[in-house]
């Protein structure tokens, strides 16, 4: 086995262990929280005598010792069984997967927008550190950091949807285009613009500053001076030599902020009535649909762990220095 394969194997094992730990923590939190599940379930049925409560406890395994319950729970999660939604009556995982595409579309579009424009802005301003545009990036990153994403989303709706009427207010599709795939695609993209930009602009603010700082540092390094000294064209120096190293912090931040991005997507989905996982989470909380709420948290944690794992693996492939050792 090569060193690379072994280190990937270790990382994979750590990721699975981490997910297991998340499941245990969530399970314990539910135990600590006040309230008796059997009493709640009985309340739903409108019956409350002791015999019925005992039957519920037996049916749901609530009379078992805590460790046995935990074992059963972990076993179920391992078999991809997150329980059934008390509101829909269907398996939680299926309901989440139905809405996954919408969330991935929103978060992916926002991330793409933020990284591409952010890096471009960062490179542009790093070459002119004292220009107004450069100071503009600093100011914008501070404002972006302090702005609530849902407020920005609402203001976008006021300007672009209500005042100018150029883009749809919310939702993901218009019934007008049903059956016409080209119309449907264009329609969905139109619905995507405002939510994706509202979410992405916050990250754009962060990434442009990060890219600028890292490019400034890279452009001062010895190997760039060497490249310039040997007569390489400035464009080659910046885009071929410097950008490769300058982009690393942005990739790191983007990979580590997937969880953060999901949290942001949740608020944006709420504002734009975007039918994703965040929307489902909020309505499930109001319906007190516990299996759904817990399922979404575990599922999102799995997505974050997966994203971090992928970032790590991509690193090992890009940068030979961290291929064998740890990144931290």
């Amino acid at each position: 086995m090569t060193a690379l394969a072994r280190s990937i194997g270790i990382r994979l094992g750590q990721a699975i262990g981490l997910l297991l730990a998340v499941v245990v923590v969530v399970f314990l939190l539910i135990q600590i929280a006040p309230g008796d599940a059997a009493l709640y379930l009985a309340g739903e049925q409108g019956v409350g005598d002791a015999e019925f409560l005992a039957k519920i406890r037996a049916d749901y395994g609530l009379d078992q010792p805590l460790l046995v319950q935990l074992g059963t729970y972990i076993g179920n999660v391992a078999q991809l069984d997150l329980g059934n939604s008390t509101y829909f009556g269907d398996p939680v995982l299926g309901l989440i997967l139905e809405r996954l595409l919408a969330t991935v579309l929103l978060a992916g579009a926002a991330l793409l927008f933020a990284v591409v424009i952010g890096v471009a802005l960062g490179v542009f301003t790093a070459r002119r550190p004292e220009s107004p545009a450069s100071h503009g990036v600093t100011v914008m990153s501070l404002v972006g950091f302090a702005t609530p994403v849902f407020w920005l989303a609402l203001m976008f709706i006021v300007v672009f949807a209500a005042k100018w009427g150029v883009l749809p207010v919310g939702g993901i599709e218009d019934v007008r285009y049903e059956g016409n795939w080209l119309g449907e695609t264009i329609d969905t993209l139109q619905h995507l613009i405002l939510p994706a930009i509202s979410l992405g602009i916050i990250y754009l603010a962060i990434y442009s500053r990060l890219a600028r700082a890292s490019m400034l540092e890279v452009l001062e390094s010895d190997y760039i001076r060497t490249a310039r000294a040997k007569g390489a064209h400035e464009r080659v120096v910046v885009y071929k030599h410097a950008l490769r190293n300058g982009i690393i912090p942005v990739v790191t931040a983007a990979g580590l902020q997937i969880g953060n991005l999901l949290s942001g997507a949740l608020r944006v989905e709420f504002v734009f009535a975007w039918p994703g996982i965040g929307q489902l989470m909020i309505s499930s909380i109001f319906r007190r649909d516990s299996p759904m709420v817990v399922g979404i948290v575990i599922f999102s944690a799995a997505m974050v762990i997966l994203a971090n794992l992928l970032t790590d693996l991509v690193y090992r492939l890009i940068d030979p220095r961290i291929r064998v050792g740890g990144t931290r």
């Binding site: 407020w151 203001m155 209500a162 969880g259 949740l266 817990v294 944690a301």
Partner: protein, 292 residues
């Protein structure tokens, strides 16, 4: 590593009084501090001086800002005064953000310093534990906590503080790892200082600059966090806060933009002023990174 060495020396030279002078010379940071102080004073004394209560009907519904018949910033769908809401709305949010920030900072300091100072299996164990909290998206996690323990100012503070401590923990650990090998720490150990004394008296003061900057960031994040929870209607419905005003008026955004715009601007002003203070501290402690 030479880079780090230079940075430490310069931050030692400018530390304390010098850093404070640097901070005062930084215009954006001074503006941020002044704005923040004004916001805090308005939140404390404003509601009493303004008189109108934020949750009571003050005039007709949907009066626009500057409308002669109504208050300065207009009214919402129930005729509640938006200006009164903006003045009052900061109380809970700022309180929760400050306490949650302190809570997460405290947790992070304890976990991070133990991990960084002792290293070995203690470090490995504590860092694995930290990763569990990093894996759960913070807003989802605090939503679940509030779902489980219920709303209320202290519970909201707990639910926010508990989700944010991974960042200060990692930062503290990194600082302790770096500092514990320095000469002055070895000297302290050589004269027989206890571990606790080395951690709190020798290493911690030198680790403070980046941690102070992180603390300001945490407060900004907590402000946005509480506003977000209030906007989603997940906090105590009886308290008026910037986020809750926006959440309640969300359905009327298209007709009455001012009901949402002004509370949001108050959040941006608060967050920005704290962020500017943090930026000023960063520059003051570490002049080498100025402007980046």
């Amino acid at each position: 590593m030479t880079d780090l060495g230079i940075a430490i020396e310069s931050s030692v030279e400018t530390g304390g009084r010098g850093a404070f002078r640097m901070f005062l010379r930084n215009k954006p940071a001074v503006v941020g501090s002044v704005v923040f102080i004004i916001i805090v004073l308005v939140t404390i004394f404003g509601p009493g001086m303004y008189g109108t209560e934020a949750h009571k009907m003050a005039a007709g519904p949907f009066l626009g800002p500057g409308d002669d018949a109504g208050p300065l910033l207009g009214t919402d769908y129930l005729g509640r005064d938006i200006l009164a809401g903006v003045i009052t709305g900061g109380r809970t949010t700022l309180f929760v953000a400050a306490v949650a920030g302190a809570l997460s900072m405290g947790l992070g300091l304890v976990v991070g310093s133990l991990a960084g100072y002792f290293g070995g299996w203690i470090d490995a164990l504590l860092m694995r534990f930290t990763e569990i909290f990093q894996a759960m998206p913070s807003l989802l996690f605090s939503l679940v906590l509030i779902y489980l323990i219920g709303p209320g100012t202290w519970k909201e503070t707990l639910a926010i503080g508990v989700t944010m401590w991974a960042l200060p923990a990692r930062l503290t650990r990194a600082e302790f790892l770096r500092l514990r090998e320095m000469e002055f720490v070895k000297a302290s150990r050589a004269i027989g200082s206890t571990d606790l004394r080395i951690m709190t008296r020798t290493i911690l003061p030198n680790a403070m600059p980046p941690l102070l900057v992180a603390a300001t960031l945490l407060v900004v994040i907590a402000v946005l966090f509480h506003a977000g929870l209030a906007f989603l209607g997940m906090v105590d419905i009886n308290t008026v806060s910037w986020g809750s005003i926006m959440g309640k008026n969300r359905g009327y955004t298209l007709t009455a933009w001012w009901t949402v715009a002004f509370p949001g601007l108050a959040i941006v002003a608060t967050g920005l002023s704290i962020a500017l203070i943090g930026d000023g501290l960063q520059d003051a402690f570490n002049p080498k990174l100025r402007g980046r």
